[in-house]
Amino acid sequence: MKIIVCVSLVPDSTTKVKISGNGMSIDENGVSYILNPYDEFAVEEALQLREKNGGEVIAVSFGTDKAKEAIKKAFQMGADKGVLIKTESADFDSFSAAKNLADYIGSQSPDLVLMGKQSIDFDGLLLPSMISEMTGMPSTSVVVKLDVNGTSITAEREIEGGKEVLQLSMPAIIGVQKGINEPRYPNLKSIMAAKSKPIEEISATYNGNIVKTVEMKLPPAKSAGKIFSNGKDDVAELVKLLREEAKVI
């Protein structure tokens, strides 16, 4: 089974965001980067499928040189090969990422493509469905359970207040959600093995953005709230304020 896992490098979720001087992106000073948490679930799922069915797991990332860190993390978990689709600028939109990944996926004839349902930086949630339309491979996302049976896939996907059970045929693209598995921690052996694995670099097939960033800013600061400290004796006053001042009850 040939499995491609799309991975990306994102700021750690504990990052306190500051805006850079150009007013268009975040200030990267002091930010630590991690493998996108949802992509970790995708790598884990790929590894489990490989362990069951044999085959290989290829971690691919679209981005600048820096994105190699995401591929290295996938190596540490146990991915077999790594490919960087290299772009010069970190400023790309979902269409550009989808197009480059779709071109690569189309050239590789994988059985399955896995990725996180979203990256926790731009939160686009668009890649599985965009790549699906571009490659003609069926896709679904926000998947919490995946059953592969021959060339048929049954996937459970989270929706508001419930789940959908979907049927797709392979090759297919799956965006995974937290809860699908418990990602493994790399052990020393796999961390050492990862060091010698080469990352293949290929050039981006498409450069350009359809969606343009005009400005990035912090959300408006909140003014200080009314905080009471008498425990349950303040409950009546709180409810009164919620009703009369905030008008939310």
Binding site: D123, S129, E133, E160, E164, L218, K232, L238, V248
Partner: protein, 337 residues
């Protein structure tokens, strides 16, 4: 300058979702500001009486493609619906109507369809927007990134745009209203065939009748301060008293106390309800990212220095085990008045 705006109104069990009114209202506002036409599309079997529920935002042209009619093209008896066929219907209908701006809600379905429709119609996509502005006929959108830790303003030179708007953020604004002219369209007229059913939903499992945090206008969330999973009944009681959904912090989800579908934060759901009550949640940065755009935040925590109080509009420093039952009783009393 757009030519025509297409609003996709989502149905649930034959009725318009709340988000459908938000979409129709916002599309109607955009069409006035852009001085362009507007039309509404839905997929489902609806009658004039249901269509008239959009009359506050009228006069409107509403086209319905019947779900049974559509699914009959899929050739599978146990098919609930197919997102690929929905995307094709929207794309083909936009083409037929010469609509260049498509607006839908950033629901599970809307998020699934927006990327497909954008690619198949050659449109730019503005996903999960929290505000839209029109200037000189050009649409600019704001959307949260880094789970709301920052906000980007985006635009495009593309004449075609697919926009999804975050549920609960755009309040429907009723206008003078008018007739809703309902037309039922056959999927044949949009060229739908069996090949459009590449992804099929066989079964929809409703996990409970509870509200989902992503759609709720009020949320009561609990964290580590509740000390044990069984104590979440206090959170559930308060939620029930005010018709709220229940949410949870990452810590208690990772501990297995609550399902991850309830997790609010950067690796959970990003929410913007009118009222968010955080109980026993200290307010880790990744949690704050997911909820700080809520309109009114109430924090209850025993630690007066907890970061949650920095984003709270109101707060009580104290013991959740004493405060929550009292708050539930008081809410019940006030709500019943």
């Amino acid at each position: 300058m757009p030519n025509k705006i297409l609003a996709f109104a989502e149905l649930k069990e034959g009725n318009f979702k709340n988000s459908a009114f938000e979409v129709v209202s916002e599309a109607s506002k955009l069409s006035r500001e852009c001085a362009c036409g507007m039309t509404v599309l839905t997929i489902g079997d609806i009658n004039q009486e249901q269509a008239d529920k959009l009359a506050h935002y009228g006069p409107l042209k509403l086209t319905a493609v019947g779900l049974n009619d559509l699914n009959s093209k899929g050739g599978s008896a146990d098919l609930k619906y197919s997102p690929t066929s929905f995307a094709k219907v929207i794309s083909k209908f936009a083409e037929k109507e010469n609509a260049d701006v498509i607006v839908m809600s950033a629901t599970a379905l809307g998020k699934e369809l927006s990327g497909r429709v954008a690619v198949s119609t050659g449109s730019a996509v503005f996903n999960d927007c929290i505000s839209l502005q029109v200037s000189d006929g050009k649409i600019t959108a704001s959307r949260p990134v880094y789970a709301g830790k920052s906000i980007v303003t985006i635009n495009t030179d593309s004449p075609k745009i697919v926009i999804t708007i975050r549920p609960n953020v755009f309040k429907p604004v009723k206008t003078d209203g008018g007739n809703v002219e309902l037309t039922v369209l056959s999927p044949d007229e949009l060229g739908i065939t069996a090949s459009d059913f590449g992804v099929v939903v066989k079964e929809v499992v409703v996990s409970s009748e509870k509200l989902d945090v992503a759609e709720a206008d009020r949320i009561v969330s609990g964290g580590r301060g509740l000390k044990a999973p069984e104590n979440f009944s206090l959170v559930e009681d308060l939620a029930a008293a005010i018709g709220a959904a229940t949410g949870a912090s990452r810590a208690v989800v990772d501990a297995g106390w609550r399902p991850h579908s309830e997790q609010v934060g950067q690796t959970g759901k990003t929410v913007s309800p009118s009222l968010y009550i955080a109980c026993g949640i200290s307010g880790a940065i990744q949690h704050l990212a997911g909820m700080s755009s809520s309109k009114c935040i109430v924090a209850i925590n025993k630690d007066k220095d907890a970061p949650i109080f920095q984003v709270a509009n109101y707060g009580i420093v104290g013991d959740v085990f004493e405060i929550l039952p009292a708050l539930t009783d008081e809410m019940k009393r006030v709500v019943s008045q």
